[in-house]
Symmetry: C2
């Protein structure tokens, strides 16, 4: 029998305890060992819980118990999870986690400590909730060079955009509905500003390219400025607006990595990923496009990914899984202004003829697009690939010429 | 350095050699060992091949070389692949394969031999080509009970149906086009009669439920009887017709497993899986629905899955992967006539009022559906769940009453 501990008894933590308890027999069969939860760490009290005898408020109890071989860190946040994880790994315990913030900010260091101490640090649950994505990228795609990863990585923003697209709901109303449904926090910044998706694409990029890409390196833009006008133009262009985390390797070896709203064509497999679902496209040089789809969050999906990692640790107590990346620095990443893509722009002008001339002068192959019931002074167009720095200069020039730019949104290339 | 052999230098085999050669360095890094192809087995000659010095026509050469630790069997067919695989496993070599026919018919026996000899028998490439599906089901979903698996598992038939649905092409023309494009064999029976999909769902079912489900146990029906009329009715009903392999566990513990054309709703994630692509939905009790999408066949996708298995074998030369199922028998499977589902029926009658009465008498909650430009004597309807035996009886009665049933197609429940 293997002794395990669960740190954090929130949504995911209670799910982990539930899955480990309810599937005890089938898990024992797969892990070839029975797994017993010896401790649950939480600062709160849970009187009347069937697991009352397992609760502790003292991390040292877990740390100093040599019987505990595997620890699930499902507390979230960097502190004290970082300190706890480090000390567990140093003392020879494997750690599994759903904590994307910690993996994204301290992954390289923790993976190095795990390697030196011959234990595992696994984090399948940190990206895509219950969707298997870390393992497929690291194992099944071992025989591929990963050309590109693009994903809808945040369920809350995808729910909001879906409501805007399908129900013509304004951003604020859709956000309110997401909060009422429990999909969005009272303080929704980490979701709607793209930070959560930024952490996740940073983890996937680190894994795929072998160097730690810190969230600071990722150009991150949320969905707060998306309007129903943009949604309508996207539709008439033949697509939808989604918040996409994307990374691809450029010809010079640097990574183009960003989280931002993008227009994607309706025929793309990611266009039909709606509501709180996540979808992740991995483009390998041999496999071609592989897409993974499912619930990216939620108690049981995330918990089941944590438990799968616990099982994997138990099966590999004496062997390390190959899950590792070296430290990285900002030189790995192409500065955002030097990246290049096609763009959609919406602007207001009182002189459409003059605006059209200016636009065709400043943008590469600009083609006008239309929408029903557009006000007389509205103009919108899409371009071919342009350097971001050139896009920004062109927007500046339009504004200075009295053509007020309201939106500029990337057009996806997958 | 690890010595490997490739048996069969056809499409997949040459892809395996290509991937192992071109990605030699990155594979060595992941496998923590360099992998060298020592032999390629094929009865044909390949003069001028850069691998000329590796070819052998004699299986014994590979078998008797103790240096060879991993063998990729990519010959296809049961014989002599079965004999070769068995003898490799018995002599302590791990075997990886893309051979779905062999895994589906001899999997339990070969897995047992592998277990006894402490080697691995891996077959990620046997289902879904380059889509990782065997590993996710066996590992990532370890913490789940698999409630249901449903998939578009055959690219050839999906290409044909896509042409019928999107381009209104008749079955024979679409088949011809598939043959001209190299997607379908000159003798396309294994694809269009559903046998290939049947083997694949048998493998997935065996893996998910732990007992060998032989292809003989799987009710298998192809797409040869699908007409453009049915495609039109599916569309007006709000869906598409796809060839689906499905397995689910019934309340009595038996499996409902079948390959047959099904009407699926347009909102289903599988409805948008078009052309030669595969899509596989795995419904876990904790994860909910997870969908895997990608190219289900082709040289490099399949080869990259084979190579991923080779890498996994090299990393686990002294440890066994948990990939195993026991032998099974037909008692595991619910007889098809005793399964139950909703159905779409199309018939011809000269007396629509009489037909409507008969239909509502014989079928459960039959609702008429219509299509544009239907001939005067055509009638079509969908029902609620009905036992298959009752459906068949009802069809008989309609035919006897002069209402000639032209099509009866299952309606998917996912």
């Amino acid at each position: 029998m293997i002794q395990a501990a669960v740190m954090g008894y929130g949504v995911v933590g209670s799910g982990v305890v539930e899955v480990l308890t309810e599937h005890k027999d089938s898990i024992a069969k797969r892990a070839k060992e029975e797994i017993n939860i010896k401790y649950i760490l939480d600062i709160r009290d849970f009187p009347g819980s069937p697991f009352a005898d397992k609760f502790t408020k003292d991390f040292e109890t877990i740390l100093n118990d040599d019987e505990v071989k595997v620890v699930a860190e499902v507390m979230g946040g960097v502190n004290p999870a970082y300190d706890f994880t480090k000390r567990c790994l140093l003392s020879g315990k494997s750690v599994v986690t759903s904590n994307k913030e910690l993996v994204a900010t301290k992954g390289a260091e923790l993976l190095e400590i795990a390697k030196k101490n011959n234990v595992n640090y696994l984090f399948e649950a940190s990206v895509g909730g219950g969707i298997p994505i870390i393992r497929p990228i690291s194992q099944c795609l071992a025989a591929n060079e990963v050309i590109e990863i693009a994903g809808i990585l945040n369920g809350t923003t995808n729910f909001i955009l879906t409501k805007m697209i399908c129900d013509n709901m304004a951003f604020e109303d859709a956000l309110k509905l997401a909060q009422d449904n429990g999909y969005a926090e009272r303080n929704p910044a980490a979701d709607i500003e793209g930070l959560d998706a930024g952490r996740k694409i940073a983890i996937l990029a680190s894994l795929a390219y072998g160097k730690h890409i810190y969230p600071d390196f990722v150009h991150t833009q949320g969905i707060t400025k998306i309007t129903l006008e943009d949604v309508a133009y996207a539709s008439s262009w033949g697509g939808v607006i989604k918040l996409i985390g994307q990374v691809k390797r450029l010809d010079d070896g640097k990574l183009d990595i960003a989280v931002e709203p993008m227009l994607i064509e309706k025929s793309s497999q990611l266009a039909n990923v709606d509501d709180v679902f996540n979808g992740i496209l991995v483009r390998g040089d041999a496999t071609g496009d592989v897409v993974f789809y499912g619930k990216g969050a939620g108690k049981l999906p995330t918990a089941s990914a944590v438990v799968a990692d616990i099982i994997d640790c138990v099966k590999h107590l004496k062997a390390r899984k190959y899950l590792y990346w070296a430290d990285g620095n900002a030189d790995c990443v192409k500065p955002y202004e030097e990246t290049s893509y096609s763009v959609y722009v919406r602007a207001e002008t009182n002189d459409k003829k003059f605006a059209a001339e200016k636009i065709s002068e400043l943008f590469v192959n600009a083609r006008t697009i239309v929408r029903a019931n557009a006000p007389e002074n509205e103009i919108a167009f899409v371009t071919d690939d342009m350097l971001v720095s050139r896009q920004e200069k062109a927007v500046d020039m339009l504004n200075k010429a009295g053509i007020e730019v309201k939106s500029k949104i990337r057009i996806a290339d997958f």
